[in-house]
């Protein structure tokens, strides 16, 4: 069976950016889904399920991150992550 692949771009909108707590929320959300998730800031690729790797993205407010999900739940995973990053903005205020 062919692997399901979905891609999208999200923008960090909370003032403090993707610091450790939001990064943990991201990883927790990513881990709920059966798929691999690769997050890229254009320079660095990080495993979206690893807090150590996600902390390497230095994603400040306004940074656009490219998400690539591979696996049966790729679509649901990206929708949940987009909601977390852009709609709920990790429960943090904008600038």
């Amino acid at each position: 069976m062919e692997k399901l692949v979905r891609e999208t771009t999200v923008e960090i909108k909370n003032a403090e950016g993707l610091h450790m707590r939001p990064a943990m929320q991201f990883v927790d959300t990513a881990n709920r889904f059966e798929c691999d998730i690769i997050v890229s800031n254009g320079q660095t690729n990080a495993d979206g399920k690893s807090i150590m790797q996600m902390s390497m993205l230095a994603a400040t407010c306004g940074t656009r991150l490219h998400l690539r999900a591979e696996g049966p739940e790729a679509e649901q995973a990206l929708e949940a992550l987009r909601e977390l990053v852009e709609v709920r903005t990790f429960g943090e205020p904008p600038p």
Binding site: E16, G17, H19, M20, M52, S55, M56, C61
Partner: protein, 157 residues
């Protein structure tokens, strides 16, 4: 952001006296006070804030390292102290294993981007098994300084 730009080499402790998390944090904050990076008056409050943050969610990321941190008005620039414990410290880490290397990071309240850039550097290196191993093998402040400077010079290693 390079280690050179935020690590205080006068605040590195190759063997922490403390054997518990809060003790290690307090010891590293005290090292920053001795190094003149934060005032003696604010030390207590800084340590308290770091511990409060740590209680909300452990910064023990697994693989024997922890990066306790807080944003605090006591500093104008990001500043870090580094401590090691050969016996290991319980940080309630994600992998439930003891922590041997502690990097304490204090960031100013009004510059979230600098905080993220310092974190990026810390995790890019901590990620590598070789770096974690070398870090644990440092037994003097001079060795720690050499290692971090070498990491700055060879970002890809």
């Amino acid at each position: 952001m390079r280690f050179d730009e935020f690590v205080c080499y006068e605040a590195t402790i190759p063997e922490l006296q403390a054997t518990d998390r809060d003790g290690a944090i307090t010891e590293l904050v005290a090292a920053l006070v001795s190094a003149g990076k934060i005032s003696g008056e604010s030390a207590k409050d800084v340590a308290k804030a770091v511990i409060k943050r740590e209680n909300e969610a452990s910064t023990g990321m697994g693989k024997g390292v922890a990066v306790p941190h807080v944003k605090h008005a006591a500093v104008k620039h990001v500043i870090a102290a580094v401590g090691q414990s050969s016996g290991g410290i319980d940080f309630a880490s994600l992998d439930e294993q003891p922590v041997y290397s502690v990097i304490l990071l204090i960031s100013p309240v009004n510059n979230p981007d600098k905080h993220l850039q310092a974190m990026e550097n810390v995790f890019r290196h901590l990620q590598k098994e070789k770096f974690r191993k070398f870090l644990r093998q440092c037994h003097t402040p001079a060795e720690l300084e050499d290692l971090l400077k070498e990491a700055d010079e060879n970002p890809s290693w």
